[in-house]
């Protein structure tokens, strides 16, 4: 990744003509300028997800996951869609996130497990885990991984992302903290995960767009977005999630309020580790369902 200053970026932006100021306020573009391939990301939202109160409706949650996976795979039924992702002979680890303030909702974990079982994987060959993945026999022997977590702002990496979700596979997670976690993409090279991830689901049910203390979920800085981002490219999915967070921050604070620190690791996963694309112009975003205030 090359060193870039504001002035250098302005010069390049000027050459690209329009949109200079907006461009500057998107750190993700600042860090990534070399991506090539297009990636498909499905954003599905449902206003009824929280119709019953503060807990997501499991039936709506299931429907959202199924619809998104069908659209992503281009197949008509959830059964076919899941069969194209997971084989009956697979050993499947579902990497979730248990951060007590904003964990992956149980309806997401339950639906994913049910769909894996529905493909024909036996109960003993599927596991949902977070902090115990390194000791978990299913994850140790896994042939397939599904990666899911909610998005939230983070005091050191800018945002908690799908890329960051694999830090629990590291022998020493703090080894990946340098330079505001810029190297998180290298986690994908760990033997326990390399080449195994079949699907990424970034939960945007109630994302947290700002925080005041690293240890605390900031309820007043989260909102019922009722969304789910699904894709095969974690960099693309994370970068769409980031755009939603940034847009919400602009709206809430009524000014550009960059993430502090910027979510450098998403773009570095693109430019240095070539795990996918972070460039919005190279992401095919498919929007399904509720569109009001979708921010993207």
């Amino acid at each position: 990744m090359e060193n870039i200053s504001r002035r250098e970026l302005l010069k390049r932006t000027a050459m690209m003509a329009a949109g200079g100021a907006l461009f500057l306020n998107r750190p993700i573009n600042t860090w990534a300028m070399e991506s090539e391939a297009a990636s498909k990301v499905v954003l599905i939202r449902n206003q009824k997800l929280y119709a019953g109160g503060d807990t997501p409706d499991p039936a709506v949650c299931e429907q959202m996951i199924d619809e998104a996976v069908c659209r992503l795979t281009g197949l008509d039924t959830p059964k076919d869609a899941w069969a194209s992702i997971i084989k009956p002979t697979d050993i499947v680890g579902i990497k979730t996130n248990q951060w007590n303030g904003l964990p992956t909702p149980s309806c997401v974990n339950d639906t994913l497990k049910a769909r894996v079982l529905g493909v024909g994987v036996t109960e003993d060959k599927v596991s949902v885990d977070d902090r115990g993945v390194k000791r978990n026999p299913v994850f140790q022997q896994a042939t397939a991984l599904i990666n899911t977590r909610p998005m939230r702002t983070h005091a050191w990496s800018g945002v908690g992302t799908l890329l960051k979700n694999y830090i629990m596979f590291a022998e020493k997670p703090s080894d990946y903290h340098e330079d505001s976690c810029a190297v998180l993409g290298s986690l994908q090279e760990l033997p326990i995960v390399k080449g195994k991830t079949r699907l990424h689901l970034l939960v945007m049910f109630t994302p947290q767009f700002h925080h005041v203390a690293p240890s605390k979920f900031a309820e007043e800085y989260s909102w019922k977005y009722g969304g789910l981002l699904v894709g095969f490219d974690p960099v693309a999915v994370d970068s769409v999630g980031l755009r939603i967070i940034e847009a919400k921050r602009r709206e809430y604070f009524n000014e550009d309020r960059p993430l502090n620190p910027p979510a450098k690791h998403i773009a570095v996963a693109d430019t240095r580790y070539h795990l996918g694309t972070s460039d919005p112009s190279k992401i095919e975003l498919i929007k399904l369902g509720w569109d009001e205030n979708s921010y993207v």
Binding site: R6, S174, P262
Partner: protein, 297 residues
């Protein structure tokens, strides 16, 4: 002579655990075992990188400011929302203040030397301590309990400290309330606007830096000031900044309009580097410049 050294070693060895306990006790005694209808249910105690066990990567925020340790506890009461207190002991009051500037976006002075409160949290800094109090649920009782324990801890911290001198040097005119950040890790250079994706001005734990917002949202500019240990270090950083932003400009305070129409300037004041970014007019940078050079700090 050898006996003397053995004696010194034995004495140090015997007293070291007591000294360590005394250090811990100093922070723990800020926390009452009971208040109102609450009682401590469990204690929290983390030193340095052990804080990763508690808040994972979020610990880096505190480590970037020089963390000694975090001591805290959880309070429970019958039918009451749980209240968690975290007291971060930093290596200096300046660092406690720095962490505080990372969290607050408005100025409140109800507790300690600066505070911020919400429906289910309250944080403040005082002396070398940064205190976070949170409630498990947003209820009327939560706010009352949070304020009560905040008041007790505030009173138990005997000393107040001065804020870093570089912060005093910020002109108050048009300064956005709560809109400045004190730091000495380059990660925070881009906190308000993108300046560079690398350590362009050699910020380190030996430098004091402040980044501040001036003007309303439509007329916003940003002031960066960095104090170095010596003039040579300051000149080196200034040259790097000038080379990157104003390579063709001459003089000790180049002013130039950038490609997006905003104005930029940078200059040196002894061991201090100053720069203004994103100004909307040449008058804006001149006004701010004049306020800084006439400041007594």
């Amino acid at each position: 002579m050898c006996r003397v050294w053995i004696y010194v070693f034995v004495v140090c060895y015997l007293y070291m655990p007591t000294w360590v306990c005394a250090q811990k006790f100093d922070v723990m005694k800020l926390l009452p075992e009971k208040f109102d209808n609450y009682q401590v249910s469990n204690w929290l105690d983390y030193e340095g990188e052990a804080l990763f066990d508690y808040i994972n990567g979020g610990a880096e925020l505190y480590l970037s400011y020089g963390l000694v340790g975090m001591t805290g506890c959880k309070y429970n009461g019958d039918g009451l929302p749980q209240v968690t207190v975290e007291i971060y002991e930093m290596t200096s009051p300046a660092n406690a203040f720095g962490v505080y500037t990372q969290s607050r976006d408005k100025e409140e002075y109800e507790y300690g030397q600066g505070s911020l409160s919400g429906s289910d949290f309250l944080l403040f800094w005082k002396d070398k301590y940064y205190v976070i109090i949170t409630a498990g649920k947003v209820l009327p009782e939560s706010g009352k309990a949070i304020r009560r324990i905040a008041s007790l801890i505030d009173k138990a911290i005997p000393e107040k400290s001065r804020i870093p001198a570089i912060v005093d040097a910020l002109p108050k005119e048009n300064l956005v309330p709560g809109g400045y950040l004190y730091f000495h890790h380059y990660i925070w250079l881009n906190a308000y606007l993108f300046i560079a994706n690398y350590n362009l001005v050699n910020i380190s734990d030996k430098t004091d830096a402040v980044l501040a917002k001036y003007g309303d949202a439509d007329n916003r500019c940003y002031l960066l000031m960095v104090d170095y240990t010596d003039t040579t270090a300051a000149i080196t950083a200034w040259k790097q900044l000038k080379k990157e932003f104003a390579p063709d400009a001459t003089g000790e305070r180049p002013k130039l309009r950038l490609e997006d129409g905003t104005w930029f300037t940078t200059w040196m004041l002894g061991k201090r580097l100053c720069a203004i970014f994103d100004a909307k007019s040449i008058n804006q940078i001149d006004n701010l410049y004049n306020l800084i050079i006439t400041s007594k700090y």
